[in-house]
């Protein structure tokens, strides 16, 4: 009897952290905005998918964000039907699907995200870091720091060859924020994202998102690694 009570107690203690994460996720209704499971494919979510949070984020950043949230993507998705020309009868035969969801600029007073206490943020960050998908094997990433010249060349490619700056905020050579707002800001990507995840995302975006607004590119491994290295240099402490 004593032995079984001991094992029940141990089992409870082992399960406690994950149930606490589950409670917070439920209490805060996180699932209404974020996809938390790869199986949830029917709905358009307004906030980023979190079912691969452990693959994507740096744990220290995630915890800090949950305590003091900041805007990551300046545009918000409105899950609604945008204004459009009338649909003809012929169109009805090839009809689609779900409403695309259009984008508008975030209003100044809308809170970026609920904030959590130190304890809850830790529990939640730990739980979210456990959410991973069986993604394709990761390429080895290059961690060597970039010279000023290398960085300038990659920045040129990032902005002009691949047009990333049209949808993502980045930092110019003077340390000023510039770029479009429909994609997540990359101003703090060096603290927020994992270098190997960036490479993996650029190689196989479909492994993470069924449908993204970002163009798909067939870039070579060298370019993927260069972009990952470049993004790792973008940190909010470098904003001037």
């Amino acid at each position: 009897m004593k032995t079984s009570t001991f094992f029940i107690l141990i089992g409870f203690l082992l399960l406690a952290p994950s149930s606490s994460t589950a409670e917070i996720l439920r209490d805060k209704d996180c699932g209404s905005c974020h996809r938390l499971s790869v199986a949830e494919t029917e709905k358009n979510f307004a906030a980023p998918d979190l079912h691969f949070a452990g693959d994507k984020f740096q744990p220290a950043w995630l915890k800090q964000f949950l305590k003091n949230p900041a805007v990551i993507r300046p545009a918000v998705t409105v899950i609604d039907t945008p204004p459009r020309p009338p649909v003809t009868v012929a169109d009805a035969n090839t009809a689609v699907v779900t409403a695309a969801g259009f984008l508008r600029e975030r209003s100044g007073n809308s809170p970026p995200h609920p904030s959590f206490s130190e304890q809850d943020a830790s529990a939640l960050a730990d739980g979210l870091m456990g959410l991973k998908i069986s993604a394709p094997p990761r390429e080895s990433t290059v961690a060597a720091p970039l010279s000023k010249r290398q960085r300038a060349k990659i920045k040129y490619k990032f902005e002009r060859t691949f047009s990333c700056i049209s949808c993502h905020q980045s930092l110019n050579l003077a340390g000023k924020v510039r770029g479009g707002i429909s994609g997540p800001s990359l101003v703090n990507a060096g603290n927020r994202l994992r270098a190997d995840w960036i490479v993996s995302w650029l190689k196989t975006p479909e492994a993470y998102a069924a449908k993204s607004r970002m163009p798909r590119y067939e870039m070579d491994s060298v370019t993927r690694n260069q972009f990952s290295q470049f993004l790792m240099t973008l940190k909010k402490e470098n904003v001037k």
Partner: protein, 158 residues
């Protein structure tokens, strides 16, 4: 002797100045064009349209899927109604094209619009802000987007 060397230097200097002046004049006028020809030259967009090898684009239908595709991808910069006022518009160094503007779109052939979507702005001599969608959308989808742009501008290539 000294005087003749100085005179030679002077005449070389005059010759150099004359050549430079001619070069500046030629550059100012343009590559073999007179000022009158320049003044009546067509706008750059039209000139480029004329240079492009004529290529007929297969016709495509605009379906609800085309509109959804436009809303999902293109509206980020070009706006939900194609007026060039998407959420990214005011942050771009070159404003996104207004797809309701007849004056410009009449000067573009369907093949040029197709190439701009498939290969990106830089590849067709336009702004690098426009990315290449050739690995995201297939040729049929791009052809139907070209037709949708024609619907938005209510115009055809001249």
């Amino acid at each position: 002797m000294k005087t003749s060397v100085t005179n030679m230097k002077k005449s070389c200097g005059n010759l150099f100045a004359a050549i430079t002046a001619l070069a500046v004049l030629a550059w100012g006028i343009g590559c073999g064009q007179s000022r009158e020809e320049q003044a009546t030259a067509p706008p750059p967009a039209q000139q480029e349209a004329e240079k492009v090898r004529p290529r007929k684009l297969e016709s495509a239908r605009v379906t609800e899927n085309t509109r959804q595709t436009y809303q999902w991808y293109c509206a980020q910069c070009h706006g939900a109604e194609g007026k060039g006022d998407g959420v990214n518009a005011k942050f771009l160094t070159v404003p996104p094209r207004d797809h309701t503007k007849v004056a410009y779109l009449e000067t573009r052939t369907d093949a040029q619009l197709f190439d701009a979507i498939k290969f990106g702005g830089l590849a067709v001599g336009r702004a690098p802000c426009m990315p290449a969608w050739g690995h995201t959308l297939d040729d049929d989808a791009i052809r139907s987007l070209v037709q949708y742009i024609r619907e938005l501008c209510q115009c055809e290539a001249l």
